[in-house]
Structures are given as structure tokens and as C-alpha cells.
């Protein structure tokens, strides 16, 4: 499928190899950031003509394949995904607004940029993400929405999305198409924690596009719990993507991913390890929550996310454990 699309992609790639060229899919992030003067592409490449080849929504017997140009609302509405991958359907359904979900694509969704106010306001010089080496205004500024995990001395900007938590929890692979062809990598390797280079956000090379996501197996016992200030159309203060494989009361496999609290889509692997081989109880859920935030570091306004995040993980685990499959 991607191979067929390469003809169209080739033209795109030529423009995309220029550093300042940007692909446009749903446009729900790029256009905003251009109006704010945060992103200043010299060329925009409309990749929507690739949609015919790149918008598969294909749940199958042994896994799921999602094209990067599938629209969020279409994926969320797919009954087989709702049945076999509720964590995916819910992470999409609880994101943004109906209008945005109708426009936004999966590829664009995982590439959306942080909502850090200091990043989005160019009148602040000091943003290491925008102006490498300039400092971070958020570190000691208004940082209620900022990250407590995966931060560095350079950047505490939160990765804002929801869908990515479902992908990273389910060990998704991301398929990337570029001039040299198609390559695959674990989705967990796509986003780069800020470290000393917060301006480098993903492993995508210039000219490369995400073409698809794939997931092995089915995960009917999975949930996405999202906590936020209002009931809809709002980013997570803390969210948890949970997937469990329970056989005869014993947890054989467990996945815990966190949103709204980390600089990148976050997988809490140490916490997951506590679950494997165990029988579920509320005490265990609490210990998992504690473990997931063991390394968390709060700042002036966002420390509450640590206690909140622990409870969200514990509650999401309870919900997953109680699901009737």
C-alpha cells in the first residue's frame, strides 16, 4: 500500500528534504503555530493526496494496521477497534473536539507539538525548544500543565496527545516512508525526551513521513482514563493507558502508559513489572501507581500531578481489571 503511494510521496519528499518545508495533513496544529509565528515554514506540502493509500483502518485476526492519514473520528468510530482495542478508541474519542477529530489525522496527532505557553508565545526569547540554548521560561514560570516525568534542566514541556499513550502501551510499530523507502521502528523510539536538545522532538529525518502504525494481537482488556479540568475538549492533566492480559485471574501481561505528565509518550515499564504474574487487587494497583511516578519531579505549580497520576493509574487498572470481556 505504501509502495503504491510512493509515487505521490516522491514529489512530496523533494520539498520535505528542505529543512523548512512542512507536511500539511489535517492542519490542526501547523496552521495554529504558523499564525502564532512559532513555525515559519518556507514551503507547505499538502500530503492529503496520499490519503487513498495511507488511511487504512484495518483490524485483522493477528493485529491492527492504521494508516497515518486516517482521521481520528473515523478510527474512534470503528466498532472492531472499540471491541478489540478500547484504549485506542477511547484515547481518540476523548481528545480535542468533534470538529478537530474530523480534520486531524493519526500521523499529525502523534506529531502535535507541546502546548507550553512559553513555547507558543514568541515574545518569550527563552525557550530551548524554539531557540536552542536560550533557557526555559516555564521552569520557574506558570507551569501547572507541565511535565513531571522525562524532564531535563532544559525543558519541562508536556507531550500533549492522548493517542500516543495507547500506541506506546500496545508496543505499536511506526512505519516511516522517505526517499530511501520504508522503514519501521518501535513507536516508543519515535519521540525523543528533551535532554540537552529539546528542539529535537522525534527520530524522523527531514523528508520522512509517518505512513502507518501497526499493533500485534488484540487488547480487549484495555482502558484510557483521562483526567482534565473540564469534561470535554481539554488536554489531560493526567491520563493512563492500560492494557491487561488476564488468564484465570493471573495477569500474564500488563501495559501502563502515562499522558499529560511527561515530556514524551511515557511507558511505565517498572510499574508494569509489578503486575506480571500477580493476581489483581486494589493494593497492587496502588503500588503500581507509586512505582509509575517513582522518578517524578514536580515544579511550583505541577507537583499535584504526581499524587494525581498515581491515583489515575490505580483507578485505570481497577477499571481494566473489572472489564467484562
Amino acid at each position: 500500500m505504501a509502495v503504491q503511494a510512493l509515487g505521490a510521496a516522491a514529489a512530496a519528499n523533494e520539498s520535505l528534504t528542505k529543512a523548512a518545508a512542512q507536511p500539511l495533513a489535517g492542519g490542526t496544529t501547523l496552521i495554529d503555530l504558523m499564525k502564532l509565528d512559532v513555525m515559519r515554514p518556507t514551503a507547505i506540502v499538502d500530503i492529503n493526496p496520499l490519503a487513498r493509500a495511507w488511511s487504512a483502518i484495518a483490524p485483522g485476526g493477528d493485529g491492527l494496521r492504521l494508516g497515518a492519514l486516517a482521521r481520528m473520528s473515523d478510527v474512534a468510530a470503528n466498532t472492531e477497534i472499540q471491541r478489540s482495542y478500547p484504549v485506542i478508541a477511547d484515547s481518540l474519542k476523548l481528545a480535542a473536539s468533534a470538529q478537530l477529530r474530523n480534520m486531524a489525522t493519526l500521523g499529525g496527532n502523534v506529531m502535535q507539538r507541546t502546548r507550553c505557553n512559553y513555547f507558543r508565545d514568541v515574545s518569550y526569547e527563552n525557550c530551548n525548544k524554539r531557540n536552542p540554548g536560550s533557557g526555559c521560561a516555564a521552569m520557574d514560570g506558570v507551569n501547572r500543565m507541565h511535565a513531571v516525568l522525562g524532564t531535563s534542566d532544559q525543558c519541562i514541556a508536556t507531550y500533549p496527545g492522548d493517542f500516543a499513550q495507547a500506541l506506546i502501551a500496545l508496543d505499536a510499530m511506526v512505519e516511516i516512508t522517505g526517499k530511501a523507502g520504508t522503514r519501521s521502528m518501535p513507536f516508543a523510539q519515535l519521540h525523543k525526551a528533551p535532554g540537552t536538545t529539546p528542539d529535537i522532538e522525534t527520530a524522523l529525518q527531514p523528508g520522512e513521513l509517518i505512513s502507518a502504525f501497526s499493533i500485534q494481537g488484540r487488547w480487549p482488556r484495555s482502558v484510557y482514563l483521562k483526567t482534565r479540568d473540564r469534561q470535554s475538549y481539554e488536554f489531560a492533566l493526567s491520563s493512563a493507558a492500560i492494557a491487561l492480559d488476564v488468564q484465570d485471574g493471573t495477569i500474564r501481561d500488563a501495559r501502563v502508559a502515562l499522558g499529560g505528565v511527561a515530556t514524551v509518550p511515557w511507558r511505565a515499564r517498572e510499574a508494569e513489572a509489578l503486575l506480571k504474574g500477580q493476581r489483581f487487587d486494589d493494593g497492587l494497583a496502588q503500588r503500581v501507581g507509586e512505582a509509575a511516578f517513582a522518578d517524578a519531579r514536580g515544579r511550583r505549580h505541577n507537583s499535584f500531578k504526581i499524587a494525581l497520576g498515581k491515583r489515575v493509574v490505580a483507578r485505570a487498572l481497577q477499571q481494566a481489571a473489572m472489564m467484562e470481556i
Binding site: D37, N117, V122, D229, R230, Q231, S232, F304, R311
Partner: protein
């Protein structure tokens, strides 16, 4: 009848649909920025990135290179404007901080340059390329910031006349059997109307037309004329629809005169569309406030002492102050009352009116404190209010013209199911959710201002009403048309109303919830002038003319009765007797107690609001009671508000449909004010951080699943000819306290600082 169009009770008009409903939902309503201009240039603002200091240098080279740039205006080349005083000092302006006047910066986001170009996009691109070098000084951001100064409001603000007091508070408080001392805090908030703070200015010779969403076209016209140094008759302000005001468009902002002057300079009409974030700093906002309440009561719940001390943040240059103690000291019967309001000056833009300016923050404090006292007394909070209900203003001893506070409490309590409430906190829950019920009182002064109107009646009943009122979304066109139709006895569909144009007869600011009472009283009076002319024509004898005067003269009785007189008027017969095709009348109405200079001030765009506690022998307020259910998730601590129930009494309800809509919006906003809305300030640099609609949260539909509005029948013959009390600002008062009272009921936790967020809940 439906929920949206409640059937009228006694002393209510018909719930006719909004005149402009279809135009608005289909996009045909023309707002100021929709007005076609001939070959316009487009302006984009550059605003300061510091809150205090000065501009050292502009580097405009890159900006000038953008194709299509016509002019870049900074303080170095800006047209000179005359100063305008603050509205409360006899001027028109919402701030005296005048942009582009010097290199000095007085607040974050001050206008420092205007880029004019052939297109909006070119202007924006060039504005983004303007480079500014500043010498920044350390600003004072808000309460507790170093460098602020604090002083009593009285004496520095002509807006704030008096710290109400009566009796001996200190002595009574000392001796009180039960005492409460508590401090409360409300945040900075911004109006964020949907329509951005645009302006379009077009000159035709020496005449200027301004298309701008305004709540006061006469104020804006006169203010801009003053700043430009031209005759006010040469300025016309046009805005048939206003995309939300909430107070933000009540006084003149600095953007208009400068755009008008630049339009003259470049000899082109100019259209300015500022961005959403610029709207946070180029207009006004609700200042953050702090309160300390002291209540003393007897064990049986009778208030014996009440003190309210408030503090508000304003700019360095202007002593803006809402001073809500005028209301909170008069709401309940209490013999010993004291109060004090202070203003804290910081390096901020000047705050201004925001629906409902004094009552929203000040009643949050009082109505929270009442609930705390009820807990101390182990008493139902509704009963505590009943025990302290007043029939007279406790400060001046004047009787209320009408007061249905407890009737509202009883109606709302019944509809809400208050009797189902288990009185103990932490005693109600449903699955994952803790449940709390809370209530609070609301009130708003009944205000009126002088207004003029012109009415033209055709022989076939077609009627044209002209009045420079404002359709800010309240339904003004509709209720004015209803008033004229009823008064003249013509079908509603034959009445056309023209508003939002300063070439029409003057009307007051659409603020202080005075519009309906003021404009409809003027329209009623002018309709009566027409009736009188017509009646005289068909009843020529002196005795009959006297009879006519008696039956159609302006009367304090509600318009339904007075309007009809004792016999139907046969319009066609009267026209034939007069021998004319059209009868037209102009008139100027003013409320009782309006000052001597009222009509002159009205034409000069200066409001003379009267009413509330300032009436001579009486005090006039509208009242209501609000009940809320909150649910708090025991795991995530998320706070949701599934039910809001309000009962309100506001004299004659002109149109139950539009009134309900206002009150419903108020309840939703009140909830928002408690749980969502706050402008975050970065205290290091005195800048607003969440200056956009993604981060400045307002409720979405999912946040307000249940809102119920009950309107009580109330008749008040003492306030104005229409018999109506303003209700636009009634709905969103007290809701914030009701929510916090419900949170206490759900959790046992008293939260005294808004907004309440999940991290404030400890379970």
C-alpha cells in the same frame, strides 16, 4: 410552550422568538468587521513583551521589506492624540494609558506599533518581523508583589464614593455569641467575547465612520472625537450587532482613536483585527480581588455584626474599583455594619467592567461566609437567610421597592429537591462520585439612565423605532419591538427597530443591566406621544383631550394595562382626521432622580445611571437564589456540576424566552467563574500566560448537562414605567459561592479561593 420559551406568568410579556435569531444562526447578521469598506488597508498591532520599562529602539528593516507594507507607526511617528479622561472622571476611556505616545511601557501587551499593509496577512507578517529593544524594569504583578502600593479606594476613585457603615460593628462583633472570620480570593478574569476587539475606521472628507463592536456608541463617538480634536457630530459609530460585550466594550479603548488617526494619515479606510491574545491586554479585565469577612450572630442565627473588607488590583495610572460593599452591606438585615475597600496599584493594564462587576467577586465572599456561619450554627443555610431577610436597606433604612429573595429561595429549593439533602457534609455519594448540594443568594441593583427614542407610525400600522441602543446578544431588538407593538397596538411583525448607530437618538451604555428598563421606558413614552397626537385628532374637544392624556400619559403602571387605555385607538381614522401619512415623535426620557445635566450628558456620551441604593427614598434590587449539585470524583478529584437551578424575580419580564436565555448564560458563567476561569499571571514579569481560548477555560456543553431557570412573577410599580429590573447581570452572581458551598457539603473542605481545581481537593 417549551423550556426555551416559558409560558408567561403574571406581569410577563410573550416569549416571542428573537428578531435576529435566524440571521445569527445562518451567519447573515452583520457585525462590525463584516461591514464592507472601499479599498481598505489592514492594520496589525505590535504589543509590548515587557510590563515595565521603555523602548530603546525599533528595528523595522525586515518588517518594511514585507511586500504590501504601507506604513509602520510607532511612538516616533504616531499622529498626536488628545488625552481622554477615565469614564469615571468625566471622560470616555477605560484606561488613561495612551499607546504610541512615548517610549514608556506601563503594562504587558501595550500597543507599541501599528503595521498597515495591503492585506491582513502582509500586516501580520510584517508585525512579526518588527524587532524591539527594551530597557526592562522589574514590574509589580499583583497582590503581594514587591513595589505595589495600597490605599483606600475612597478619595482616589470618583467611582467609589462611600465605605458603608452603620451602628457599632466592633462592639457588636466582640459581644457576638457566634463569630466567623474568613478570607476569600477571586482571580483575574477576561471577558473573551466571541467577536474580537476589532475596529474599522473610514473617513469621508472630514467625517469619520467607525465600525466597532461597542456597548456604548455615543460614548465611543464622543470619546474618539475628543481624542482626535474634532466635532463629535463628524463621528458616527455603527454596529447593528455586537458579538458579546460582558462589559469589555463599555468604555473606549485606546485602539480606536489611533486607528482613526492613521486612517486619516494614509488616506484609506483601515480595518484592524487584533488577535485573541492581544485582546487580553488592549482592553480591560476583571481584577483579582481579596476579601475578609467578619460575621457576628446570635445563637439563633440573627446577624448582629458584619464587616466586609475588600481589595482590588488596578493599574498605576487609574484607580478603577468595583467596590461591591455597597451591595454586600445591604443584602441582609444587620444593625452593625462596617466596610473598607482598598486599591492595590501594580504594573498592569487598567481593569474595567465585567459582568457583574461588583457583585460577582464581593458576593462570593459574603455568600460563602453565610454558608460557613450556617455550618457553625448547625442551621440550614436557606433558613439562615430567611432569618436575616431584610425589608429595608440596613445602612440607610430605606425600604426595598420589592424584594422576592425568600420566594426565590423557596421556589428554587423545591425545583432542586433541597429537602433531599442530607445536612451533614461527606454524607452523599453515587458510585465514584461524592455529591454536594449548595446554594447562595444573588442580587443586582436596578439601574436606569436617560434615553431618547424616535418612533414613526404609518397609517397601515408599520412602525419604525430608532434608538442608539445595543444588541449585545440580550434580545434588545426583540423586547423594544414588543414594547412598541404593545403600546401602539400594532402587530409585532409590523415593527422595525433600528439600533447600534450613533446617528440615532441617544441611548445609554448597555451596561449595569439598565438597557431594557431605560430604552423601553423611552420607547413607551414616545409611543404615548404618538397615541396622544392620534387621540387628540379623533377627540378634539378639550375634555376628551384631557381624557386622552389621562389614559395614555406615561404611567408607572406596567405597560400592558397603561398601554391599552380604556378604549382601542382606531389608527386609520386618526390618520384621516390628521390628514397625514406618517406620525413621527421624538422624546427624551429620564428616570426619577436623574441629575439636572442628564440629557446634556446623554448627548455627550456620558452615562448618568441612577437606581439601586442611590434612589432617594427607596432601594431597588433584583433578587434570586441559586442551587447547585457538584460531584467530585473520589479517585481523580475532578469537580463537575451536573445541575444548576436558579429562581429569579426581576419585576416585569419583558420576554420570558430572552430573559431565560440571559439567566441561563449567567448560571453557566457563574459555574465557570468558580471552577474554570482564571487569567494566570507570570509574577516574574507581570504578563498574562494563558491568553487564548485553549488555556483560558470556559465551559463546553458537556460541562453543563442541566440548567434550570425559574422566573417568578413580581410586580414593582416604583422603579420605572416599564416596571422591569435589569436581569442580565443577575444570573452569574452567587453561583461561585453556591459551588464552593456544595464542595464543602460534598467533602467537608472549605475552599475560599477561586477557581477551585482538582488539586485543591483533598480527600
Amino acid at each position: 410552550m417549551t423550556a426555551a420559551a416559558p409560558g408567561p406568568k403574571t406581569n410577563m410579556g410573550q416569549p416571542v422568538p428573537r428578531y435576529d435569531a435566524a440571521a445569527k444562526v445562518t451567519g447573515r447578521a452583520t457585525y462590525a468587521s463584516d461591514m464592507p469598506l472601499d479599498n481598505p488597508a489592514y492594520a496589525f498591532l505590535v504589543t509590548s513583551a515587557i510590563a515595565k520599562g521603555r523602548i530603546d529602539r525599533f528595528d523595522l528593516d525586515d518588517a518594511r521589506r514585507v511586500r504590501g507594507v504601507i506604513e509602520i507607526v510607532t511612538h516616533e511617528n504616531a499622529p498626536k492624540l488628545k488625552e481622554s479622561k477615565l469614564f469615571s472622571n468625566g471622560g470616555y476611556a477605560g484606561t488613561t494609558i495612551q499607546p504610541l505616545k512615548s517610549a514608556e511601557i506601563a503594562h504587558d501587551g501595550q500597543i507599541i506599533a501599528v503595521v498597515v499593509a495591503e492585506s491582513y496577512e502582509a500586516a501580520r507578517e510584517a508585525a512579526n518581523r518588527v524587532k524591539v529593544s527594551y530597557s526592562a524594569a522589574a514590574p509589580s504583578a499583583t497582590f503581594d508583589s514587591p513595589g505595589t502600593t495600597t490605599a483606600a479606594a475612597k478619595g482616589q476613585s470618583s467611582q467609589f464614593k462611600e465605605d458603608p457603615k452603620v451602628g457599632d460593628f466592633a462592639k457588636a462583633f466582640d459581644a457576638a455569641e457566634v463569630k466567623l472570620v474568613a478570607s476569600y480570593e477571586t482571580p483575574t478574569q477576561h471577558h473573551n467575547p466571541m467577536e474580537l476587539f476589532t475596529t474599522s475606521c473610514a473617513w469621508m472628507g472630514d467625517n469619520l465612520v467607525i465600525y466597532e463592536g461597542s456597548q456604548y456608541v455615543y460614548g465611543l463617538k464622543n470619546g474618539v472625537a475628543e481624542q482626535l480634536g474634532i466635532d463629535a457630530d463628524k463621528v458616527r459609530v455603527v454596529n447593528p450587532y455586537v458579538g458579546g460585550g460582558f462589559g469589555s466594550r463599555g468604555s473606549m479603548t485606546p485602539r480606536t482613536a489611533i486607528i482613526a488617526a492613521i486612517a486619516k494619515h494614509v488616506n484609506r479606510p483601515i480595518k484592524l483585527v487584533p488577535t485573541r491574545d492581544q485582546g487580553f491586554t488592549i482592553t480591560t479585565h476583571r481584577a483579582e480581588t481579596r476579601h475578609e469577612i467578619k460575621l457576628g450572630a446570635s445563637r439563633d442565627g440573627k446577624l448582629v455584626a458584619l464587616r466586609h473588607e475588600g481589595a482590588e488590583v488596578s493599574s498605576r495610572s487609574d484607580a478603577y474599583c468595583v467596590g461591591g460593599t455597597k451591595t454586600t452591606t445591604r443584602l441582609y438585615a444587620c444593625p452593625n455594619v462596617d466596610s473598607l475597600v482598598s486599591i492595590v496599584r501594580a504594573d498592569r493594564n487598567t481593569p474595567g467592567f465585567m459582568r457583574s462587576p461588583p457583585e460577582v467577586p464581593y458576593l462570593f465572599a459574603l455568600e460563602s461566609a453565610l454558608d460557613e456561619l450556617a455550618v457553625k450554627l448547625n442551621m440550614d443555610p436557606v433558613e439562615l437567610r430567611r432569618i436575616n431577610d431584610a425589608t429595608r436597606d440596613p445602612i440607610d433604612g430605606k425600604p426595598y421597592t420589592s424584594r422576592s429573595l425568600m420566594a426565590c429561595f423557596d421556589e428554587a429549593a423545591k425545583a432542586f429537591g433541597w429537602s433531599q439533602r442530607s445536612p451533614q457534609s461527606k454524607s452523599m455519594s453515587d458510585g465514584d462520585w461524592l455529591i454536594g448540594y449548595g446554594c447562595a443568594a444573588t442580587c443586582y441593583p436596578t439601574l436606569m439612565a436617560p434615553s431618547a427614542a424616535r418612533v414613526r407610525l404609518h397609517r397601515d400600522g408599520r412602525t419604525r423605532v430608532e434608538i442608539a441602543g445595543h444588541e449585545i446578544g440580550t434580545g434588545a431588538y426583540t423586547v423594544i419591538a414588543q414594547t412598541a407593538a404593545e403600546r401602539l397596538g400594532v402587530p409585532l411583525e409590523k415593527v422595525a427597530v433600528f439600533m447600534g448607530d450613533s446617528d440615532l437618538p441617544p441611548a445609554p451604555v448597555a451596561g449595569g443591566s439598565n438597557s431594557t428598563a431605560s430604552t423601553c421606558s423611552a420607547v413607551m413614552m414616545v409611543c404615548d406621544q404618538i397615541r396622544q397626537r392620534l387621540l387628540k385628532a379623533v377627540m378634539p374637544s378639550d375634555s376628551l383631550a384631557d381624557k386622552a392624556k389621562e389614559t395614555v400619559g406615561i404611567s408607572p403602571a406596567p405597560s400592558t394595562q397603561a398601554g391599552k387605555g380604556d378604549r382601542p385607538l382606531e389608527i386609520e381614522k386618526a390618520f384621516d382626521a390628521l390628514g397625514v401619512g406618517v406620525v413621527e415623535e421624538y422624546g427624551e426620557w429620564k428616570p426619577d432622580g436623574a441629575p439636572m445635566d442628564s440629557f446634556r450628558a446623554m448627548h455627550n456620551g456620558q452615562v448618568r445611571l441612577v437606581g439601586g441604593h442611590q434612589m432617594k427614598d427607596q432601594i431597588a434590587y433584583a433578587f434570586g437564589a441559586e442551587f447547585v449539585e457538584v460531584r467530585i470524583n473520589r479517585f481523580t478529584h475532578e469537580i463537575r456540576c451536573p445541575r444548576l437551578v436558579g429562581a429569579f424575580a426581576a419585576g416585569r419580564i419583558m420576554n420570558p424566552r430572552t430573559a431565560r436565555s440571559q439567566l441561563m448564560g449567567g448560571l453557566i458563567w457563574g459555574m465557570s467563574s468558580a471552577l474554570l476561569e482564571a487569567t494566570e499571571i507570570d509574577e516574574r514579569n507581570a504578563r498574562y500566560v494563558n491568553d487564548n481560548l485553549a488555556d483560558y477555560l470556559v465551559p463546553v456543553n458537556a460541562d453543563v448537562p442541566g440548567v434550570e431557570v425559574i422566573m417568578l412573577s413580581e410586580q414593582d410599580d416604583h422603579i420605572n414605567p416599564v416596571g422591569a429590573k435589569g436581569l442580565g447581570e443577575l444570573g452569574n452572581v452567587g453561583t461561585n459561592a453556591a459551588i464552593c458551598n456544595a464542595i464543602y457539603h460534598a467533602t467537608g473542605q472549605r475552599i475560599r479561593k477561586l477557581p477551585v481545581r482538582l488539586e485543591n481537593i483533598e480527600l
